[in-house]
Symmetry: D2
Subunit: 385 residues, 4 copies
């Protein structure tokens, strides 16, 4: 019953609304920071036309007064600028415009067909509007609040793209901050911006052939104290919560922590992070990516996620009309060639949420003063253990 | 508030107790099936001495009468046979035996050090006893009940090991049942039993050098109907729940669904599973591993998990005594060289739980007769959609 | 993980926002019904000036298209008309107006003092804005959606006030519908409108002396099928959920089901509802108010709630300035003399939510067609048991 | 995801098993205290034969080592001594004894009929075994652990019966401790033991006429700090949680906090607890029973609960045979005339759980040292606010 959030809103609906509840009072809220996070999500080479229409900004409708949280639930609105073109087609009440056709050609890889079955909808627009990754704008706004909380505790979150389709790089630094700095220079948040030209050509080519691309990103949290999460029950492990949060991002098909699948290949002594002591415990490596026994261990939390290509293809795949049952090509919606840059920002948001949740479980969720006192006491305690 | 379970018990405590709640009444319970599942978990080349001591069997203490569930919570006991040797050392009350030493040398990769900090324990035995993978016996028992539920709906779950350390195979069949059959013939549940000799040598060699090994397993569920899980909120997606459940297994560091990380490399048309229709919708492939938009899509659910090597090494790693702070070698506990075979069975159990949970959310959890009627109605509805 | 909602918003903030998630798709949404529910909450003799300013209407921002739910979360906005007078004083960002004084005199009986401590706020406005019963407008909107769901299953919810302060009546009918009809004729939703003049005088007198009043209301649900809720675990009982939901309404201090406290005085045979059979089971009485063993039993669910007087008094009580610690009179906010009429409507909303939650747990939350088929099958099954 | 528990077990099953999870490590566990709590639940004039058979004691199967919690889940076993007479009739596996008849005559007021419908059971024993108040032994054991936690923070819980059927008393002291001391002297935990003879005669008479009795008890928690619970969302209020926990006790039909229903009759100034200051805030009264705005306010938490008479009557009521549909008298099970004394102890347990839950939410659940430091800091902070 700690930190929680719900998002709502359709891709071409009037607005996206989220409620985030459980942040301590007296947290400073920097609205520019939040809007900048939204901006970061909108970038990346290979995005479609929608991103030119929308310039997402957050309206804080409750829970913040004179720049500080007051303990109350925070309602966040992100208006859909495209709404003016859609208000008749997506109206909550009234009749469907006669000239507006149902979406009946489900796109493989998208929620269209299964969602239509589940919710008994023959106009698959009623599915695709909510299952669209437009929803991730809400997550980024929620995550921005979580990041502000974490920043107050000197916990920071970074991300960078490590592969786009078949293109990867050998230049990944040990220091996640350096990687993230490099990514911010790249047109697609790639960890090695020297590959930008190659990547742009690659993406352009995919676009020309009506194809789409996925990729892999890493998201890293630093300065997370040890002892967050627990091994005592399967559903209290922070690695489980991280996996759920990351896998819940649209189009993610794989999650690793630390070495991940690579760790399965190595012998034990090449995986475990040996323990040293020098005015406090330290590790000689971070192969486990910051979690041991379902708890954080004080090392950077390193998560890697695989995103499948965007399922909307301009050279569409085989599908079936759900009314006539005729075989045909899947429908199209305006879409991106690749959204891997955006996904990395959403990954930051979800990791920020999970860590904030567990931090507040362990320390306090009532007010920042209490949180910071307890947090510092704990940091000292850990050092003296 | 649907299907849920809690496990309890220490590795060398008196007993493991679990409570599983929310199964429908009138489900036939085959105790031999459950005990066989427990036996399957205990197998696998490379296991340590503990597995020779324990021959796990489940005592059903409540919730089952004359071989059927009655709706009440099910309490499951798995006694620790080793308890007779440990009753003084692990006694709930009384004094610690004078000659029994505290465990003060945390093993890298295990919960020891961080758990000690979190729970303020200087005898790390108080951590390692619960964080031990002995707890997975409980999960397998719980999962066995879930499998019985799923079997009644003709849903089946299979697993097989696809790599052990550096050894993998090119012989993986498309048919998960065939793979699982092969695995049952292997000494380590390897999908290609022709490699058994090679694997045994490899494991023996690791053991000789005081090393440990991890591996990768796949777990597959077939006949899961489409439309379980949902895209409407981040925490209702079944792919997220699967990722959490699998990552929550001790030593798992990576989870993939379908092509997983491979999907990030391919172009869109080589990933999406095209849709056809022939008296019902079908797919031309199953690259997405049975989930689209956070829902099942009717195809087999294919999950792959990476297990790191066992953290207890007979040739121990660098660590620190938590009392003296002296650098030294980590402590040892009786342990396996590799437990990848066991992990695959635990993977089956956790996937069974997640699917059972979502099935009961959608259909009914009160009694089997109601569940089966609704289930069949839905299967027909899906066919006619 | 079924039906759930979060509300947000401050009493003089920009807007109240709620998200309701988990309603089936294809439920017809009658916006006039929802707005009428909001209007019902605003009525009642003895309300303060605020009710003249606000004429609450709901904007549906998501989850409804062309008059039907689509399965997605429903965002509901109720704008605060008073916001234009408060936008500087309650601004999310910027500086507090210099001439606007902090609220530092906590009102006994309100959240002011304890909330200030908990959230470390010296301007208690940051507490009272959210703890205000203005929040119940959100609950009524959410409850209106739940009522629409229940109406589709022929389940209806009624309420009426049975006492205001010391004034009660001996005229309460057995039929809740008749009681509710009478209440709709009364200026204060009193079950016996012949007492309206007496009540108005009584309330006027309380107002003149700077006092406030509470009262007791009943809320009744009819046609709820038997078997909703469960005895198998303490937290799955529907009577517990009802008690929580009703007690959670601002100012409620007591909850009874059926005879409630009266049942404690009677001998067993004068309490239990005997069972008969005539083409289905029936009861000879409804002393237990529709719940047995934590489950509904098919009889009307009858809940009674005690509301304490409004804590804001125009003739204020002793308090302390939280800055100076000087004893003084508590602060005032514009307020009602009594809000018992409003509370009864909020009671309807909360009972509607609890029943809708449990109905969806047992039947289906995906689409109305599925729900109705299963619901009717169950009704037939119950009849034939 | 904080403190939680599940209970399991049938009334005449082998054993009752509970798992309590989320207590901090290093809490001293006094097994004699726990067993004494179980003994307290078994007492009270008017109990049936079962209480002579059972002498409940708790076996702690996990989570406690050498008298202290270690952070792990705590499994608690309470064996049913009566099991030896029931092992064939309640066997988890095997066949029903031929001479053992199904229970087919549902008792009005019990879960029998509705439970039979819900779980599709024609032998209602499969319902009554779990819905029996025997389950409350588990709750008392769980509550005893919670009380030990609270005692370490100097929070104490008391209860006493204030009416049995029609018999009440005018002698209730202001001091709950004094009331509880009186109750411990009474044969039925009555707050005024001078009425014991009258009560025993009254109960005997009810027994002779085959009747049963209910009653009212109060449960009080003292030294609970202010600020536990919250007004920010309907489901975070501690008054709601208290109402749910108390109403969830078998046979409870009403819950009040503080003046409860009486508060609805009074004018505002006679209800609100005025605020004073003398080296910290204090109140001039405790009419609200320790909660304001869904939070504790530092005053004693005073809860009153109404228990209906036991539904099993030796002079049984009208019912129907669920097989033949013939009208007949309800079945009998060995039962009590009144269990109000036991219910008051269960009330203590449930209130202890709710307060412990909220205390751990606010402070820490990892270890007692951390909890106590933070708790004391908070107490000082409150004093200086």
């Amino acid at each position: 019953m700690g930190l929680r959030f719900l998002t709502s809103g359709e891709s071409h609906g009037q607005t996206l609304i989220s409620i985030l509840e459980g942040l301590p009072a007296n947290l400073d809220i920097d609205i520019d920071f939040i809007n900048n996070e939204l901006r970061r999500r909108q970038g990346g080479y290979g995005r479609g036309g929608r991103m030119k229409i929308e310039q997402d900004t957050a309206n804080i409708l409750s829970g913040v007064r004179f720049g500080k949280t007051i303990g109350s639930p925070i309602a966040i609105e992100i208006k859909n600028k495209d709404w003016e073109n859609w208000q008749n087609k997506m109206a909550p009440f009234g009749e469907k415009p006669e000239d507006f056709k149902d979406f009946t050609k489900p796109r493989p890889g998208h929620a269209d067909l299964v969602g239509g079955i589940k919710y008994n909808q023959k106009d698959l627009r009623n599915i695709l509007e909510r299952s669209s990754a437009r929803e991730t704008a809400s997550r980024v706004a929620v995550g921005a609040f979580c990041k502000l909380l974490l920043k107050a505790l000197n916990i920071h979150i970074y991300s960078y793209v490590v592969s786009v389709g078949e293109i990867s790089t050998s230049i990944i630094h040990e220091d996640p901050i350096l990687n993230a700095e490099q990514a911010e220079k790249s047109v697609i948040r790639f960890v090695d911006p020297s590959k930008d030209n190659e990547l742009m050509e690659y993406i352009d080519k995919a676009k020309e052939s009506g194809e789409s691309l996925g990729g892999i990103f890493e998201v890293v949290a630093i300065n997370v104290p040890p002892g967050i999460g627990s091994y005592i029950q399967w559903d209290k492990r922070i690695d489980g919560d991280i996996a759920k949060a990351i896998m819940s991002i649209q189009a993610i098909k794989g999650v690793e922590i630390g070495l991940g699948f690579e760790s399965a290949k190595r012998i034990g002594s090449k995986v475990m992070d040996e323990i040293g002591y020098d005015n406090g415990y330290f590790r000689y490596s971070n192969n486990l990516g910051g979690t041991e026994g379902g708890m954080t261990n004080g090392m950077p939390i390193v998560v890697r996620a695989a995103m499948k290509p965007i399922p909307t293809l301009m050279n569409p795949l085989r599908s079936v009309d759900i009314i006539s049952k005729d075989p045909l090509k899947a429908g199209k919606e305006r879409s991106d060639v690749t959204a891997i840059a955006a996904a990395s920002i959403v990954g930051e948001a979800m990791l920020a949420f999970v860590i904030a949740y567990h931090i507040l479980e362990k320390f306090s969720a009532d007010n920042m003063e209490e949180l910071i006192i307890r947090y510092n006491e704990y940091i000292n305690y850990v050092r003296s253990f």
